[in-house]
């Protein structure tokens, strides 16, 4: 557990129109982008790092990443912006 890297949720906005033709759907593309920056290989049984995918008012995913992974993802083509999870309050 000590060696596990702390992960936080990041909202990743993607440029939907930048999806390469080799992908047939956006979620596969988002997923491959996320996988390409992971510092720890995903093992079977691991919880999916992607917790949401957004398709209508917003395009992208919410994903569990370490800070370094988030920084790496931010550099990827097709990634428009990365927002760290923030807390809101009822008014």
């Amino acid at each position: 557990a000590d060696t596990q890297i702390a992960k936080k949720t990041y909202i990743v906005q993607m440029d939907k129109s930048a999806m390469p033709n080799s992908f047939t759907n956006h979620l596969d593309w988002y997923s491959s982008k996320v996988k390409s920056v992971l510092l720890e290989p995903e093992n079977e049984g691991d919880e999916d790092r992607i917790i949401y995918n957004y398709q209508t008012a917003f395009h992208g995913v919410a994903v569990q990443l370490s800070q370094e992974e988030a920084e790496r993802l931010e550099e990827e083509d097709g990634v428009v912006a990365i927002f760290p999870e923030t807390k809101y309050q009822l008014h």
Partner: protein, 660 residues
């Protein structure tokens, strides 16, 4: 909501064909998504009697979970979804035994806001006999889709974003969002970006302004494509009195249940009164009645004066009760002024203003045997002046862009009665074992759903209206005078409020149904506004998910956005003393309409509108005008006024702010 429909003029002519809730405009096809703590489906406010089948276009779903089954949805609650993945990732798994991991609302807030938007009429609604009447949402014919995004530990952006995304896909027409976070740049604010996406798809997004008032620059949710709603009072009060041992009577408010009134205005029921502060200018923990700060030996059997601040108001009552106090006088401080917010305390309690509070504390500090009694006088209507801008309502100016005046408007948000969860007592304290069908709450959370409901009503009457058109109609018909015909006041100062407090003014739904002219704004216009905000191409891309959206530089300045409010900002190092802003109005009234401009006078600038008249020959015709500000003498503080276009029937008013 036993008073707000009447206060908003919605119930006038109720039995006539002109009734705003008449059959033709019941609004059954309008669906409002409420992002909140869920919903208590058993509430009578969500009865679907008489409602037509759910529109076939609706793609929403009734998600099931503990305490929420498909049968809990009906023709009123047409959707119920939950969003907790972000919450669980941040705080750990939700304990499904102690918290409903379903759309069932155990907090009450979501039930209250949903019922305020579109609750069905419920006769005999009240809270412990206070505010008795028929409770109904502002658009009782509209349907509700509950998107639960807030849990016991808070609300998280990834969940909120998912809810907005899903709600738009489901087909909501209006989104009611009574929550907020801090203010960050447009391109860093995921809710702002999601609201932009919703607006692009024709969804009207209404958000609460925040409860950070009366501090200036305390607004949240300030994006121009969002309708930012501040809070004001209605003409209803719940008076109570504190009678001091010296015979002096102080006026306050209370929701304490009259039948169980312990303290009466009679000599033998006077109780000793105690204040644990030292009357210094800053409150102390014991004067604030924070947990663990009251000495039982001192407090037991007495009425305790507590200052507002730090801890929730109802919690102070609990602290007093647990320390053996028999009653509480909750005193405002300078932060709250004279504004009185009623709460359903666990013990006899009266809330009083700052001035009265000071007087009572003086009495206590100068009288060794100070005593008092409390009396509760029920519900009083016709309070003047009203509306008054709530002290807690967040204030402008808009931190992000001075040229966009915020808040947009105010609506009832003080002492609002609406449906409540069956899971918690009216004080929301875990120790409160009372159960009520309705509760009285205050906050911009309560004003936001009033506007969402009225927006739904407008959408039902005018299905082709864009979100910006609806917002324009609400803003340009808002009023800035109270029921004494004087300028709207600010509860925190008792002085006239400014557009930084009330925006365009207080909503006037009946006039908003027929605004005459509207300031329409298309998604590309909002994008052009963003193009004026010195964003990098990458930052702008956040808003241009349609690849064809790019800056055409059609706006000379952010103040040129076709906003229904006008904020003229002279640059700090102005080389010129002249500033011109442009607007285009669309005629949504009679085809042949002639409007004339009237501008209020300003000390620091002359204001010229050109042309002075707008002559329309057809419906939906667009005509433009420009408004030029020429500095006469630079003012140290902003100046406020208004521009009104009049055709003899309609008054299309824009607030004006000039900042040097």
């Amino acid at each position: 909501t036993t008073r707000s429909p009447m206060f908003l003029g919605l119930e006038s002519g109720y039995s006539t064909n002109n009734n705003v809730w008449g059959h033709k405009i019941l609004g059954h096809d309008v669906i409002v998504g409420v992002l909140d703590t869920g919903i208590w489906p058993e509430s009578e406010s969500f009865n679907d009697m008489g409602m037509t089948p759910v529109p076939s276009r609706w793609k929403g779903k009734c998600e099931t979970g503990r305490g929420f089954e498909e049968r809990h949805c009906n023709k009123k609650i047409v959707g119920a979804r939950v969003f907790y993945q972000g919450y669980e990732a941040a705080t750990g798994k939700i304990n499904g035994q102690t918290e409903f991991k379903s759309a069932r609302d155990q907090d009450g807030h979501g039930t209250h806001t949903a019922a305020t938007v579109a609750g069905s009429p419920v006769r005999g609604a009240n809270l412990q006999n206070y505010a008795n009447g028929t409770a109904r949402g502002m658009s009782p014919g509209a349907r509700i889709a509950a998107y639960k995004v807030c849990w016991t530990g808070g609300c998280f952006s990834s969940d909120i974003l998912s809810a907005v995304d899903r709600a738009v896909a489901d087909g909501v027409n209006v989104l009611s969002i009574s929550l907020g976070g801090g203010v960050s740049s447009y391109y860093r604010d995921s809710l702002s970006i999601a609201a932009f996406g919703a607006m692009e798809m024709g969804v009207f997004v209404s958000c609460s302004a925040g409860n950070g008032g009366p501090d200036p620059v305390s607004l949240t949710n300030v994006s121009p494509w969002i309708t930012t709603v501040g809070a004001s009072t209605m003409d209803r009060d719940f008076p109570a009195i504190v009678k001091l041992g010296n015979g002096r009577i102080m006026n306050g408010v209370s929701l304490y249940k009259e039948e169980r009134m312990l303290l009466k205005n009679s000599k033998q029921e006077n109780y000793p009164i105690v204040y644990m502060g030292s009357n210094s200018s800053s409150p102390e923990p014991s004067s604030l009645c924070l947990e663990g700060t009251l000495d039982r030996h001192i407090v037991a059997g007495k009425i305790v004066i507590c200052d507002r601040g730090i801890s929730p108001r109802v919690q102070k009552g609990q602290v007093v009760k647990e320390a053996g106090g028999v009653g509480m006088i909750l005193s405002n401080t300078a932060n709250n002024g004279e504004e009185l917010v009623a709460d359903c305390h666990l013990l006899p309690a009266v809330a009083i203003g700052e001035t009265e509070g000071k007087a009572i504390k003086r009495y206590v500090s100068t009288s060794p045997n100070a005593t008092a009694s409390l009396a509760f006088l029920g519900t009083r209507l016709g309070i003047r002046p009203s509306p008054v801008v709530a002290a807690f309502s967040s204030r402008g100016p808009n931190f992000l862009t001075l040229e966009i005046l915020k808040p947009d408007l105010v609506a009832p948000g003080v002492n609002i009665l609406a449906a409540w969860t069956g899971n918690l007592g009216p004080s929301s304290l875990p120790t409160d074992h009372r159960r009520v069908k309705f509760n009285i709450l205050s906050g911009t959370s309560m004003s936001c759903p009033h506007v969402s409901g009225i927006a739904a009503l407008l959408k039902a009457r005018h299905p082709d209206w864009s979100p910006a058109t609806i917002k324009s109609a609400l803003m340009t018909t808002a009023y800035v005078h109270d029921n004494t015909r004087k300028s709207l006041k600010d509860a925190s100062t008792d002085a006239p409020s400014s557009p930084f407090d009330h925006g365009a003014g207080h909503i006037d739904p009946i006039r908003a149904l027929d605004p005459g002219l509207v300031y329409d704004i298309e998604a590309q216009d909002y994008f052009e506004f963003l193009c004026t905000q010195n964003l990098t191409p990458l930052q702008l891309k956040v808003f241009s998910k349609h690849s064809n959206r790019s800056c055409k530089h059609s706006l000379a300045s952010p103040g040129d956005l076709n906003y229904p409010a006008i904020s003229a900002v002279f640059p700090e190092k102005a080389s010129t003393a002249v500033l011109t802003l442009h607007r285009t109005v669309t005629n949504v009234g009679p085809p042949v309409s002639n409007y004339h401009a009237m501008v209020s006078p300003f000390k620091g600038a002359s204001v010229h509108v050109e042309p002075q008249s707008l002559n329309f020959t057809r419906k939906y015709q667009k005509l433009s005008y420009k408004i030029t500000f020429t500095t006469i003498s630079k003012q140290p503080v902003p100046e406020f006024g208004g521009l009104v276009w009049k055709d003899g029937v309609h008054r299309v008013r824009s607030p004006i702010v000039i900042t040097w």
